[in-house]
């Protein structure tokens, strides 16, 4: 058993109001210095390898538990896409060998407690929220679910039907279509890009679900975040009581295929509507990339910082062409994506794309200004205290960093790394990680009403969506 405490000191300094020269009396308001010690999170490991991050808080009689698992579609063959998601859903809906599904639900709902389970591309999550007085009931149900789920056949059928209906409805929502087609081109023949389809979901069997469960829902593949109205010794004894007998069998399977080259180009999806939905970008960085914090600051200035970003200022505020516009670096275990997104009336589709490209190119060649860098860093550092706003967040954040493979002390390193980002760093990572000349463009809309032909940006391939 090991114990680790994280203590770091963040001093949120008074901000320079240089940008507010005209607002003298506002600049005159004193901002007291705020010294904030991020709370320490306890950590212990059960004999079966289960890691628990624990944060006590007695202000309310509640307990929260979040469990993270290394699992997901990345461990599933492409022709079975959706298996992880279904397993996560039926783990919860299918009841346990002791408590049939309907009784399981009645017991939880009766006291207003909740257990959720979901699984995605490369992780699965299980979440419990309960009043302290119902903790034994809630933990015993959660323990049954994780240790001896029943995978009831009817509930499995319902989950499959529901997933098929969701797939049928996917094309109703233009943003969902834009996102899906974008990732298919970015990560072809890989679970990062290839979604579940009617045929992959229909081929999934109940024994495959049970097998998936056995491989991945195990204590040595899990990190938990526990918080609330408990002492450390109560926490440890409860975790041992309910999860101590949970054992790991067999080997965790290897991940499926290696990443392939993106299929860059201009893709158009016809849809009869008065607005175009755009997503433009390319492969980004994985979450262990050493430049991730410099990239965070760079992206804040480019398109991640809301009204402080160049994208929003140029396209929304100055031109009135969009309600939401911005950029994002989405980071995953093995890779990541960079994209700009925007929705604009059909008649300004190409103008919006031109502006996005222009903002990117100018930023790459000129970099940021002193003031932009100052605003970005102040914003990130001053709002950092919101990472510690609730007990469940405090525990979750620590647990997640360990789950993602970061060494202890990452929170402190994150603050230091943000503080250290220089103008030269911003320019360097903009040049290294933004590639406006080699991108995937996905445009969903009605090209008859576009201001110019999309071919301005390259040969257009039309994607027919059923």
């Amino acid at each position: 058993m090991s114990f680790r405490s994280v203590v770091l000191l963040i001093v949120l300094t008074a901000l320079s109001l240089s940008g507010l020269a005209a607002a003298q009396d506002i600049g005159s308001v004193a901002i007291p210095e705020l010294q904030f010690n991020p709370p320490a999170v306890d950590r212990f490991v059960l004999g079966n390898g289960l890691i628990v991050h624990f944060y006590p808080d007695t202000s309310l009689p509640v307990v929260s538990l979040d469990a993270m698992f290394h699992l997901g579609e990345v461990y599933v063959p492409l022709d079975k896409a959706g298996l992880a998601e279904l397993c996560g859903a039926v783990l919860r809906s299918g009841g346990t060998t002791k408590t049939p599904a309907d009784q399981f639900n009645e017991k939880l709902d009766f006291v207003g407690a909740s257990i959720h389970s979901s699984a995605g591309t490369e992780s699965g999550e299980v979440r419990l929220r309960t009043l302290k007085k119902d903790l034994d009931l809630s933990l015993s149900l959660l323990s049954e679910m994780l240790l001896s789920p029943a995978f009831d056949n009817t509930k499995f059928e319902i989950a499959v039907e529901n997933k098929l209906e969701e797939i049928r409805r996917e094309n109703d929502e233009p943003n969902a279509v834009t996102r899906r087609e974008f990732y298919k081109k970015m990560f072809p023949s890989h679970p990062y890009g290839m979604p579940a389809t009617a045929s992959t979901v229909s081929s999934i069997t109940l024994p495959e679900l049970a097998e998936f469960y056995k491989r991945f829902y195990r204590p040595d593949n899990c990190v938990m975040a526990l918080s609330g109205d408990l002492t450390r010794s109560e926490a440890e004894s409860l975790m041992n009581q309910y999860f101590g007998s949970w054992s790991s069998k067999g080997e965790v399977a290897a991940k499926t295929p290696a990443l392939k080259e993106s299929e860059t180009g201009v893709y158009y999806v016809p849809r009869d509507m008065n607005q175009s939905h755009l997503r433009i970008g390319h492969v980004g960085i994985d979450r262990k990339n050493e430049d991730r914090y410099a990239v965070q600051v760079m992206n804040f200035i480019l398109g991640g910082g809301g009204f402080m970003s160049r994208m929003t200022n140029r396209i929304r505020v100055q031109e009135g062409l969009a309600y939401t516009v911005g950029t994002n670096f989405y980071m995953m275990d093995e890779s990541g994506s960079f994209y700009a997104y925007c929705q604009t009336k059909s008649e300004s589709t190409c103008k919006a794309i031109e502006l996005i490209l222009d903002v990117m190119r100018t930023f790459i060649s000129e970099g940021a200004t002193d003031r932009e860098l100052e605003v970005a860093k102040n914003s990130i550092l001053n709002s950092d205290v919101f990472n510690y706003a609730t007990p469940d967040q405090i525990a979750y954040q620590e647990a997640q960093l360990e789950f993602q493979g970061f060494p202890p002390g990452q929170l402190k390193r994150r603050i230091e790394a943000i503080k250290a980002v220089s103008l030269a760093d911003v320019k360097r990572v903009a040049q290294a990680y933004l590639h406006p000349d080699s991108m995937i463009f996905v445009v969903v809309g009605n090209d008859k009403a576009f201001d110019k032909p999309l071919s301005e940006f390259g040969a257009v391939k039309t994607l027919q969506i059923e």
Binding site: G19, L20, A21, A22, A23, D25, I26, A30, I31, E33, F36, D57, S59, L60, P61, D102, N105, E106, D109, F110, V111, G112, S114, R129, L131, K133, I158, E165, E166, R168, R169, E173, P174, D272, M273, N274, Q275, H277, G305, G306, F307, M308, T312, N313, V317, Q318, E319, G320, Y323, T344, K345, E374, L381, N382, S383, D384, V385, F386, A389, T390
Partner: protein, 509 residues
Amino acid sequence: MFWFLVSFFALVSAAAAETSDIKLDVKEHVLSNGMTLVLVERHTAPVFYSMMYFKVGSANEVGGNIGSAHLLEHMMFKGTRKIGTSNWDKESALMDIEDRLYDKLYRLKGDMEDERVRRSIAGSNVSDDSSQMKVVLDSIVQIETALNDVIVPNQLEELYTENGGYDFNAHTGYDITSYQVAFPKNRLELIMMVEAERLRHPVFREFYSERDVVAEERRLSVDTQAPAKLFEQLIATTFVAHPYQIFWEWGSEVADLTRGEISDFFKTYYAPNRTVLAIVGDIDANETIKMAEKYFGDIPAQAPPKRIESVEPVQNGEKRVEVVFDAEPAIEIAYHKTAFDDPEDAVFNVITAILSRGRTSRFYKGLVEGKRLALAVDVSQFPWGDVGTLYPNVLVIDAQPKAPATVEQLEAAVYEELEKLKTTPVDSLELEKIKNNLVSDFIWGLYDGLGLADRLAQSQTIAGDWKYLGFLRERMSSVTAADIMRVARQYFTKENRTVAVLVPAKKES
């Protein structure tokens, strides 16, 4: 100045006894101009959450100013005479010219349209003389270029963001408009001053480009979204007289709103006597009241605006509407119901929970898992609010059939569940579950500072008293099986409902 120490559990069931030691300490204070503060000290994290509510929403858009409440919400982020400009006097003069030019532009457009109609009736060729128009458009470009030299864009957002502002947003409702911000605790006085400045001297700069942003928001949130398109028609069909009938501004009217109209709307409805400021967090309540007196105290109160006189007439028969859209089928059903102050409103809250809350709800167990007809069946109230709405609203059932089930099958199954409420008393365990959930909701509701500030401000604004939240809970916990049967029989009738069906557009082949 008043102190309130209230336990919401006095009348709640046995399960609540174990948690009756949880209290919500709220400090309430009314400034001399009528602005109300509702404060909760919570020292668990060095932050505060602020919710500012104004008693105005799109229901107040009476008399041809549809879209005003929403456009005003956007304009409130454009700064003040001190924030957002490098030269307020010069900017103010330029904005006057800009307004006159746009006014001229509208008149010209109107004249040209009249002329076009006149000529086409007369059979003569339509040849627009647009030279005058060009002069005006060129002048607009010139003025806006000059304005860009004095405007400091996004300065308010910069101030919020750089100071660690978190989750800042605004929402235009039907009875209310709300502004939310959260900051590290050491920014409290700064934010008080800025918020007061926004109420004292807001400047609606970049007005004409922001109108385009609002139009784009409609395309994003309604025009391209099947559920919203369907819902818009459901509501427009349900209400014939009451201004709740407009789900979202239709779009065309916004292009005609002027800066002068928005300024008038602001002056009338954002008066301090219609303002509630709720703050939850690591604050000292007495110090916060002193700051509020200092910064907001001298903003003058305003005479109350025109009341909403339209009363929705009783519906005398089922109404149905179809929306053809490129999407899978869906159905939405609305029943007229009560306003917040009707005791039956609490019964509807309990019915909503029985029908749709969680996996053990009747719709989920019966239609999603039991008959396997639906992907989802949700129940909500429109307009929605934690304490209800100022005027009678509707209960909405929203369902998506799961193929091969049809909308017709699903609709029939929904009515079957509603009939059960009329004929069979809800059993005591089911009612006890709802009451237990009231307790756990209350406790978890204290966990989230922003949500708590929101509910307190909402209750104070709609009901005139933040304690109404507790009264409503008590009302809900005393709802009986007989109450549910009586209300179901009275309201879930064919005559009282409106049904909207989404019909998939035929695909071009």
